[in-house]
């Protein structure tokens, strides 16, 4: 029987007004990142530390990847913690600070100017993530219970705060010599704290909840997820400690192996969820999100090649460039393609058709965007991605620009579909 007289109020989801600005900013940043990639193609024939590459990396990491994650997580965290988002105002504050801070910082990096714009921009981004952290912590403390997924999000945010704090320090160090070494020395640490600590942790935590949900799968394995959590965090702590205390390559390799093992365990988790799914048909958005799990291994393979290559080798710089490109234009972009078109249509459907549910024919959320445009976008994406990597290997500007041009088309198609959803008339 059912609980007599039980009446539970449905959860109020986070308002679309909070979330949509993040999605729009991220979508436009993707176009900006691809245009900058095209304009900076020649930089991909030289060493990896260059102003234009710094700008492209930060547009992709912050404007595209992080803004999309912030937008989605303001919607998903309440689902993960089974509670409400604490404050919409803090969410708006995060958006405003990050939105302005990213523009200032990217402009400064592009012009290789670490003055006021870079300093203020980086502090604003730190403020944005601190607002997000407070919002998440208070939301979790007010919720009925937390779980492994929410713990991934919280730990990921803490790593991101550390990443940005180090980034701020590196920017100030350019002008004030605060550290014992040059800022460039600390870049691998800054980059990996962000890539592994923020992006990987968020993808693992949220993905392990959403993949079984979207597949309608019976599979769950919390023990495995905790093991993944400890492997990533222990690997990252080891990397951090060995970087700060004593740089020993064997410790870097050990920390990399721990993180790669976690990725392999996650891929196995996703595969088992896929095998145990009840819904047999898998839509293209979930397919690309599942495919992006495999794309996590690509940077890991390239990293193995970097370890195996001498710094003096002609291939070293190319491999480092390919490694970064595979992360931001490969894995992170692919997962965003899948997840944007699995989350945004529902957020907008809720807004536009909420009142009509049950009394009039309402479109399926999938009908809010164009499936053919999505497929064409994926085609341009993979072709551009492969051609650009070929361009790095050949150090050929024409090939690099061809790959970047295809990625611009992909970004425009992505935006067409996002704005089609936003403008959909109910």
């Amino acid at each position: 029987m059912f609980a007599p007289g039980a009446g539970v109020n449905p959860t109020k989801t986070t308002s679309h007004k909070v979330i949509i600005p993040f999605y729009v900013y991220a979508s436009l940043s993707f176009v900006a990142g691809c245009v900058l990639l095209f304009a900076s193609s020649a930089s991909f024939t030289g060493p990896h530390f260059q102003p234009h590459l710094l700008a492209v990396t930060h547009v992709m990491a912050l404007g595209w990847g992080s803004m999309m994650i912030l937008g989605a997580s303001h919607q998903l965290v309440p689902v993960l913690i089974e509670g409400k988002l604490y404050s919409n105002t803090l969410a708006y504050l995060s958006f405003a600070l990050a939105g302005v801070g990213i523009i200032l910082m990217v402009w400064a990096f592009y012009h290789f100017d670490f003055g006021l714009a870079a300093q203020v921009g980086s502090l604003m981004i730190l403020g944005a993530f601190l607002s997000y952290l407070v919002n998440i912590i208070v939301s979790m403390s007010k919720a009925n219970h937390t779980n492994v997924h929410a713990t991934f999000v919280l730990a990921g945010t803490l790593w991101m705060i550390l990443t940005i704090s180090l980034g701020v320090l590196l920017i100030f160090n350019f002008n004030y010599n605060l550290l014992s070494f040059s800022s460039v020395t600390y870049l691998p640490l800054h980059a990996h704290l962000g890539i592994i600590g923020w992006f990987l942790m968020l993808v693992l935590g949220v993905g392990s909840r959403l993949i079984p949900m979207f597949l309608i799968s019976k599979y769950s394995n919390e023990k495995r997820l905790w093991l993944i959590f400890y492997l990533v965090n222990a690997g990252l702590l080891l990397f951090y400690a060995s970087f700060i205390v004593k740089r020993v390559q064997s410790l870097y390799i050990l920390s990399s192996l721990m993180i790669v093992s976690a990725i392999v365990l996650f891929i196995q988790f996703a595969f088992k969820a896929y095998k145990a799914r009840i819904r047999k048909a898998v839509d293209p958005q979930v397919k690309i999100a599942l495919g992006s799990s495999w794309m996590m291994l690509l940077p890991a393979i390239v990293l193995g090649m970097v370890f195996a290559t001498s710094v003096l080798s002609v291939y070293f710089e190319k491999l480092v460039l390919i490694y970064g490109f595979c992360i931001f234009f490969g894995w992170i972009s692919a997962i965003i393609f899948g997840m944007t078109f699995k989350t945004l249509p529902f957020i907008l459907w809720n807004k536009k058709f909420h009142q009509k549910a049950g009394i009039a024919r309402t479109p399926n959320p999938k009908e809010l965007f164009s499936q053919p445009v999505f497929r064409i976008m994926v085609g341009f994406y993979f072709t551009g991605f492969v051609i650009f990597i070929t361009g790095i290997l050949l150090a050929n500007v024409i090939v690099l620009q061809t790959g970047a041009a295809l990625l611009i088309v992909c970004a425009v198609l992505f935006n067409l579909n996002v704005f089609k959803m936003l403008r959909y008339k109910s």
């Binding site: 059912f2 609980a3 009446g7 959860t11 549910a357 049950g358």
Partner: protein
């Protein structure tokens, strides 16, 4: 399982019309998904009571699905007021999906 406690004809009709309320994420209607637990028609007070659940307590589409059920019942039974109670005791599980629902999820024909 869907449970009908009185007025079987009215409840059968209500279950029939509730096939029109779709879980937007899964694409399956709330009846075959097993979200409707209980229906009662109070013919004197003119209230239709519906006890239902969601696939997860904090389903992002939960509010829309619950509103869909309310809208549907009030639209099809205009003389009645719909009183929806959400419960998670017992919680929804995949075993609650009807054979027709499972067939549809496995790629069978839409009904």
């Amino acid at each position: 399982m869907n449970e009908i406690t009185n007025n079987p004809d009215m409840c059968e009709k209500a279950l029939d019309v509730l096939h029109e309320v779709i879980d937007p994420e899964i694409g399956l209607n709330v009846v075959d998904l097993g979200l409707i637990y209980q229906l009662d028609f109070d013919t004197e007070e003119k209230v239709v009571y519906c006890t239902m659940t969601l696939t997860t307590q904090f389903c992002p589409m939960g509010e829309s699905i619950q509103d869909g059920v309310t809208n549907c019942l009030q639209f099809n039974f205009p003389e009645y007021r719909a009183d929806i109670k959400l419960t998670f005791d017992p919680p929804w599980s995949m075993e609650k999906i009807s054979p027709e629902g499972l067939d549809w999820l496995n790629g069978g024909s839409r009904f």
